[in-house]
Structures are given as structure tokens and as C-alpha cells.
Symmetry: C2
Subunit: 201 residues, 2 copies
């Protein structure tokens, strides 16, 4: 289609459209918006992209994203270093931190096992997790991957690797979300809620 | 909230969240996605933003966005220079060009009059339109602003300015969208469709 607009705008729209969840229409809207920004604002956005890409990398210990060699959580002396909570991605770390209830360490896998898609253990940060078990005094690994097929498979796989080492492996509970209603829960969630029931004393 | 993630990522998320239609959640998702891009891709995106911002400006004639002094439509010798279609924004030009039916010129107002929001004629490109009327041989101005209150007010205002100059001013038709169904049309559209009915011969 011969678009009557400027080529740099078309190129920018195409770049925006490559971002997840952004279709061609939204990408065009964003490109037009950039034209309305003042020059400094547009430059700030561009620099933020380059800056994040250049300075942020995986923490050499827990693999969470950080601009430091060792991330603030791993280097925080007040945290309980005997527990590691294993998650799929950096945003899961943010989610747990928001609860303000967990004081242990994390390990970010950067993916989940998915044999169907060819994602085998070497594609996620499993060996980095195993390497951490040798150091220090780790007592428990909490598998906090999502309660999906891939999340469960990954949790089970890692449990199989770690169990023989004499370290406790646990899995986060599945059940009804707090504030949720029974009638809207799907069957599997309801079954899990029943199965994981706790005694009331 | 003490976010456990890297500061450059938080900054990038905040920049993304300033874009229209992008909330904080989506902005974070985009920032994480940038981390997954390879370095060249991220640089290309950043450069596309700067490049579009630096090279694209308004055509000195029709005010549409272009990287040239005079846009390709204004400098196209095969187009009918006696008709100017007046639209609100550059994306409206794209919309008309997609029909492949219009062969005249355009004028982009970059906004609509809105006395409530303080947008008076000096904030939109009205005087640039009037300046064009003196040059060449313009026979018709088609007011193609949206059929909204602001679009109608703007069309009426410009018609009042141009009518005394002896140049024909027309307004695009309102009515049922092609392929639309009567039962889903709102009352005003239906009334307009009735009012603008055409004789069938």
C-alpha cells in the first residue's frame, strides 16, 4: 500500500508493531504521538531504551535483571539465605516483593520447560540454580512457577534433580484466589482447593 | 513501592507508560520485552524514534507530515490542484488515500476547534489554509473533519470564512456505513441518512 505518510514514520510504526500486544493501528497511533512529543521527550524515550538494554543484565547469582553485578536482593544481608524461591521471570520477583511477606532469596529461570516447543533444561537457568546449592546453607527451594502445565512440569523436573541432595523442595499452593467466588472458579482450581484443604483448629 | 528491578528498567517503563493507551502493566511488559530483544533491534527502535522526530515535519503547503519540504502529494503533478480536502490529522489523509478514489489535494488542520478546551482558530492550521486559497485555481474545499460536534463546528467556521471568497465549500456526507444495519444505527446517524437521501433514477 502506497502510504502517503513520511517514510521515517512508517519505519517507526513498523518497529512499534514488533512489540508484544501492539498491532499496526496502535503502532501508527504511537508513531503519530512521537511526532507530537517535544524533541527532548522523544530523545529521553530513545535513550531509556538504549540505556536499559546496555546497563541491565542478569544478576550473576539469582539471574534476576539488575544493573549491578550482584542484585540488591542477593546482596541484602538482612535476607534469609537458606530459602530460594524459583520463578519463571523477573516480573514474578516483583510480584512476590510486593507481598512484603517473603524474606528469602530468588532464582529466575527465564523461561519454563516446554518439550513441545523444544525448550529443554539447557535453555533455562537450571544449572545456575544447581550451582547455588553447593554454596552456603540452603534448606528449602520453593518452586513458584505458574500453576500451568509448563510451570508444573518445570517444578517437577527441578524437584527430581534437587530431592536427592537432601534439600527440601516445596510447591506454592493452588486454590481459590482470595476474594474469589466458588461459582466462578474452574473445575481444576476447585479440585486443587479441595485437595489442598487445611485443617481448621 | 520498592521495586526489586533495575532502575533503568523502571525508567524505561515510565517512559513507555507516557505513550497513549499504554498503562503501567503494559509498559512493564514492553520494558521486559526490550530486555529480550538483541542489542541491534533495541538500537533500531531507539534510532527510529529519534529519526522520525528529527526528519519528519509539516509539509509547507498542506501541513501533512513529511520528510520533504513539500510532501509527495502536493508535488505530484498528476493530482487535481483545484480541490482541497480539509482533514483533522495526518492519519485522515492516509484513510482517504486508501480509498484510491480521491485525486485532489489535502489540508491538515492538526486539530479541531473546541471552545470548551480553549482551542481557538490560532491553534489549528486555518491561516495556512487561507493562504493557499490565494494561490492557484482552487474551485472547491471539501470539509472532511469527523462528524462530531468539534468536527462540525470546525467545518462550519471554515465554511463561513471561505464562502465569501466565491469558492465552493462542501461537507462529506453522514449516513449509514456501507454494510451496516439499520437496527444498530444510532438515532442521529439514521436521521442524517434520511436527511441526506439521494433520488434513485
Amino acid at each position: 500500500m502506497a502510504d502517503c505518510n513520511a517514510l521515517p514514520l512508517i519505519i517507526l510504526s513498523e518497529k512499534f508493531a514488533k512489540l508484544p500486544g501492539i498491532g499496526m493501528k496502535t503502532a501508527q497511533k504511537l508513531a503519530y504521538y512521537v511526532m507530537k512529543m517535544d524533541e527532548q521527550e522523544a530523545e529521553d524515550l530513545a535513550n531509556a531504551i538504549i540505556d536499559a538494554k546496555k546497563t541491565v543484565h542478569s544478576c550473576s547469582c539469582c539471574q534476576n535483571l539488575t544493573e549491578f553485578e550482584i542484585c540488591p536482593i542477593c546482596s541484602d544481608k538482612s535476607r534469609d539465605t537458606s530459602v530460594i524461591c524459583v520463578v519463571e521471570s523477573p516480573k514474578d520477583v516483583s510480584a512476590f516483593e510486593r507481598t512484603r511477606e517473603y524474606n528469602g532469596l530468588y532464582h529466575v529461570l527465564h523461561g519454563l520447560l516446554s518439550p513441545m516447543e523444544g525448550i529443554t533444561p539447557e535453555f533455562i537457568r537450571v544449572k545456575e540454580l544447581l550451582a547455588r546449592l553447593g554454596q552456603g546453607n540452603i534448606k528449602e527451594i520453593i518452586m513458584a512457577t505458574n500453576p500451568t502445565v509448563e510451570g508444573d512440569v518445570t517444578a517437577r523436573y527441578i524437584a527430581t534433580l534437587i530431592n536427592p541432595l537432601g534439600i527440601k523442595v516445596s510447591r506454592i499452593a493452588s486454590g481459590l484466589p482470595v476474594g474469589g467466588a466458588l461459582e466462578y472458579a474452574d473445575e481444576v482450581t476447585l479440585y486443587k482447593a479441595l485437595e489442598n484443604r487445611n485443617e481448621m483448629k
